[in-house]
């Protein structure tokens, strides 16, 4: 099997050609390397590092949505026994300018959104810090705020680009003409609410200064990137800063960039000249750790009588803050999903008095594909064509947007295999006709996609004199299984057993590597790891006759050029999501009785952790469909249901039969592993599949998420019973 791996065909020409002996480490369902630490409680997360003399900080949130701090009285807080300092903009040390204004903490009296951190308390104990936090008296000069997104907002504008650097608008052909020529057309508006990542581990930092050397144990998706920002903020040589993050309790995008607590902890530690620990509270996470913007999306689709698209138009309205522009790329997936002669997409933003939205699992694809795949279902119904068949008929030969050929495109294979596994054949398309006791039953399908990104990284591989290998890369394992997958990748490249390889990650002292984001971790880190391992193997075998020198042997690699040199192509993962729902006629309660996804994601490095990732994404997608919504209260400008009792993420009882499968997909144009990212695609399309199934069950088309019992209470069985 190894001889046929895509690695041999990778365009990374700089990679040593010597093929290692096959070990079969890739593709094996290895248990997580750190499993034992995690089940015994030995795995230490950021806040759990306890340097001597550590002090406790808590952050004080603003209680207005816009305005200025007019006065701050810290006297009562300072009188709390054990309080070491109260910091605010008038007393906090100055920081260096930084691109992300959210990190300019305590630098001005300006309040840009409710919940923004405006002061910090440091105390000997957590109890004292919390009590003092309550006693910090802040006077405000409030200004009228504007926090509610609406499609007719006068402040809407077109951003220059959308995340990360796509054009905000595209237009090919003549959409209006295409719609006029269509035999069937739909024009519908879909809405998704603000959603919060809510990783189980709240963002936390323990900061320790030793002279001008700063060490932070921090919960993040990439220690090297966090170190770079910290160094910049404090005006330090990056070599003097170290960020350590061996275990991270989830991120889902919200830990991809530094959050205020990282800077605040370091700031406070400098002021009190002691190590300081600071965690964002769960409730504070609704304001200061990012979220998915609400979206309002108009979809116009036209098709001929055979269901071939004549026009696709996807126009998005979403929000950003006044602190920093974040433009979610909601319509970008629509640019390459289906063939149509006339296509347009656009994004418009309004800067509101709200926290800055940011990355949340599959930013862009996730909300955008809810709208597109709901609309495609509506079009299929209007055209009287099976929704799978309609998608097959609109399969493009090349990427309609770039004109590049696809490195691989498994959409149809996923739809076909999913239909087979799910039992789609013979489905009666009529809505509202299947009864099971007091419940209506329906099924739905939606397509899924996510781009294949890869970034340059550095890594080392070292043969240890005592035997075995150490591989180092500044990667992050936020629960993805990166430590395990990289161990397999390294073992494979070294021709060694997985138990001979130790992977070090989660530390900025390791070779620089990009964050765990964009589903690009394994591809990016793995490329560098393979390169380092092959170089080591070659030197070990070529120069040392396979015998490890007394001091060991190390090889370093940098994949920057390999990534830059890769051939321009359309590289995407695809998938198909199938849902079966049961909707109670009396109560509108919806049960997702079955959820099945089939994905074309290249070569699977570890089927055990891969399945968990895909199922986890689908579970979050189910939550998006039925449960999750951050409710903005325009009176106060904040998300009012800011806790885990008010914001429902799926609990165990919500998840019934949920399956993730994949097709065999060999793609030689990706990376030495032949893998595509799997962290995000699982959430893409799930909500549409469920909404489509709800329509099939009830005849009710819900275009605004989440689908609540409120929406379905009016369902009636079509047979009148």
């Amino acid at each position: 099997m190894m001889a046929a791996t895509p690695a041999a065909a990778t365009p990374a020409a700089a990679t040593p050609a010597a093929a290692p002996p096959a070990t079969g480490a890739i593709g094996v369902p290895l248990a997580r390397i750190e499993a034992r630490e995690k089940v015994t409680g030995a795995a230490r997360y950021a806040y759990e590092h306890q340097p001597d003399e550590v002090a406790y900080a808590t952050a004080v949130p603003a209680t207005i949505a816009r305005g200025r701090i007019s006065a701050l009285d810290a006297a009562a807080a300072m009188e709390v026994p054990g309080v070491l300092a109260v910091l605010w903009h008038a007393t906090a040390p100055r920081l260096q300018p930084v691109a992300d204004g959210e990190l300019a903490v305590l630098q001005s009296g300006r309040v840009a959104y409710r919940g923004q951190f405006v002061a910090l308390v440091v105390a000997e104990t957590l109890e004292a810090a919390r009590e003092a936090e309550r006693l910090v008296a802040i006077g405000y000069e409030p200004e009228e705020h504007d926090s509610l997104l609406r499609e007719d907002h006068p402040g809407l504008y077109a951003p220059e680009t959308v995340n990360p650097s796509f054009p905000a608008a595209t237009s090919d052909g003549d959409v209006e003409a295409g719609l006029r020529a269509a035999a069937v057309a739909i024009d519908k508006t879909y809405r998704t609410p603000a959603l919060h990542n809510n990783a189980m581990e709240p963002h936390a930092t323990v900061a320790l200064w030793d002279g001008d050397d700063l060490t932070c144990w921090d919960s993040n998706q990439g220690a090297p990137a966090h170190r770079a920002t910290l160094a910049q903020v404090f005006g330090l040589d990056p070599a003097r800063v170290r960020v350590i993050s061996p275990h991270v309790g989830g991120g889902f995008g919200s830990k991809g960039s530094p959050r205020p607590q990282l800077v605040l902890a370091a700031l406070a530690a400098r002021v009190v000249a002691r190590p300081v620990k600071l965690a964002v509270t769960r409730r504070q996470m609704w304001a200061v750790t990012g979220y998915r913007t609400p979206t309002i999306q108009r979809l116009r689709l036209g098709a001929d009588a055979e269901g071939r698209l004549t026009a696709i138009a996807h126009d998005v309205v979403e929000q950003t803050s006044t602190v920093r522009e974040f433009a979610e790329q909601t319509a970008v997936a629509t640019r390459m999903m289906y063939a149509a002669p006339n296509r347009s997409t656009s994004h418009r933003l309004v800067a509101l008095d709200v926290p800055t939205p940011s990355w949340m699992r599959a930013p862009g694809e996730c909300p955008g594909m809810f709208a597109l795949e709901s609309a495609v279902d509506e079009l299929a119904i209007a055209a009287g064509i099976d929704p799978i068949e309609l998608r097959v008929r609109n399969e493009p030969e090349v990427d309609p947007h770039s004109g590049h050929r696809f490195s691989s495109r498994g959409l149809i294979a996923c739809l076909r295999e999913g239909a087979e596994r799910f039992g789609w054949a013979g489905r009666d398309p009529a809505p509202g006709v299947r009864r099971e006791g007091c419940r209506l039953v329906g099924t739905g399908v939606a397509a899924s996609t996510y781009p294949v990104y890869r970034r340059g990284a550095q890594a080392f591989a070292r043969a240890e004199p005592g035997g075995g290998f150490t591989v180092g890369v500044g990667a992050a394992d936020i629960g993805t299984g990166a430590r395990t997958a990289l161990t397999q990748i390294a073992a494979d490249a070294l021709g060694a057993g997985v138990d001979e390889v130790r992977v070090e990650l989660g530390d900025s002292a390791l070779p620089r590597a990009p964050v765990a984001g964009g589903s690009a971790g394994t591809a990016s880190w793995g490329t560098a790891v393979v390169k380092a391992c092959r170089a080591l193997r070659e030197r070990l075998d070529g120069e040392h006759g396979g015998v490890v020198p007394p001091d060991g042997l190390r090889a370093d690699a940098d994949s920057e050029q390999d990534v830059a040199d890769q051939e321009p192509m359309a590289r995407h993962a695809f998938g198909a999501q199938f849902a079966e729902v049961k909707v109670d006629l009396d109560t509108g309660e919806t049960e997702v009785s079955r959820l099945l996804g089939v994905f074309g994601v290249g070569r699977i490095v570890n089927p055990r952790t891969a399945r968990s990732q895909l199922v986890g994404g689908m579970t979050m997608g189910m939550g998006m469909a039925l449960l999750e919504e951050s409710v903005l209260d325009p009176q106060f400008g904040d998300y009012v249901n800011h806790d885990l009792a008010g914001y429902h993420v799926a609990c165990n009882a919500d998840v019934r039969d949920i399956q993730a499968h994949w097709i065999d997909e060999e793609d030689p144009h990706l990376n030495p592993m032949g893998s595509k990212g799997i962290g995000e695609i699982g959430i893409v399309g799930t909500a549409a599949a469920i909404a489509n199934a709800v329509h099939h069950a009830t005849g009710i088309r819900v275009r605004e998420l989440p689908i609540r019992l409120d929406d379905l209470l009016w369902a009636e069985a079509a047979d009148g019973s």
Partner: protein, 330 residues
Amino acid sequence: MRPFAYEAAADADGAVAALARGTAAARYLGGGTNLVDLMRLGVEQPELLVDVTRLAHGAIEPLDGGGLRIGAEVRNSDCAADRAVRERFPVLAQALLAGASGQLRNLATTAGNLLQRTRCAYFQDVSKPCNKRAVGSGCPAIEGDHRNLAILGHSEACVATHPSDMAVALAALGARVVVRGPGGERTIAMPGLHRLPGDEPERDTVLEHGDLITAVEVPGLPWATRSRYRKVRDRASFAFAVVSVAAALDVDEAGGTVRDARLALGGVAHVPWRALAAEDALRGAPATRESFEAAAEAELAAAEPLRDNAFKVSLAHNLIVRTLLELAGA
């Protein structure tokens, strides 16, 4: 959280005396699942906690006539698992099991469950106005997020709901709450423990400061073996009710006529809402869908939904009918 003194009382009189030594902010501490949370939120700021979990009120004992006396300290999980509760009052066991999570039920006590406070988001956020928490500050829920707040019995001052499931079952069963206060012992009949908000939303119950619940007595009701609790929520488990129904039905097997019925609603009002109008409509009526619908309509005629929660009226209606139909068919 303010520093506070902690005292573990040895018996009820000792607890009452200990609390009397504190200020109006002093509180009895049961399982703490709501009180400690409210202290962390800054909603409650006691300077004294009197722990009442070791007063020997931890038993469930039979009463004459088939009733049960449930000690105030009995943990929700123990009450739900109790054989007599399960057999005589399934609606109570089901209500307890539908509440919170296994680990919370292990902490939560009978008395604490009754006295838990609304989960209205504005009440819990001390940075916002709330008439219940800060008298006279206003009720932003009326204009704000109130999808899951009251449809019955609310006032201009407060539209909060009572969060307990257990209390809904107890209201349906006509339980009596035994209270020890500075003036001695007295009994309060459910649903009379809780009160509607009116213009005093800060008062959840008719209890006075210092009153200590020592037990809940559930009177015998032989036909309560045919009872059930049905809770609709936004998530499949571990969520507060959107609407719930506690119901017991006594049907004359021969004639198919309702001899008697007990019905209460949760998630709809500031109190566990005993549906007396519906019960009146049911008594003597045929045990049919039509009767059940008429009973639901009789009860919900008084509903005054807010801007975003009219669906709760339909939901309550459907849930009443469905639950009664299930009981009639059982």
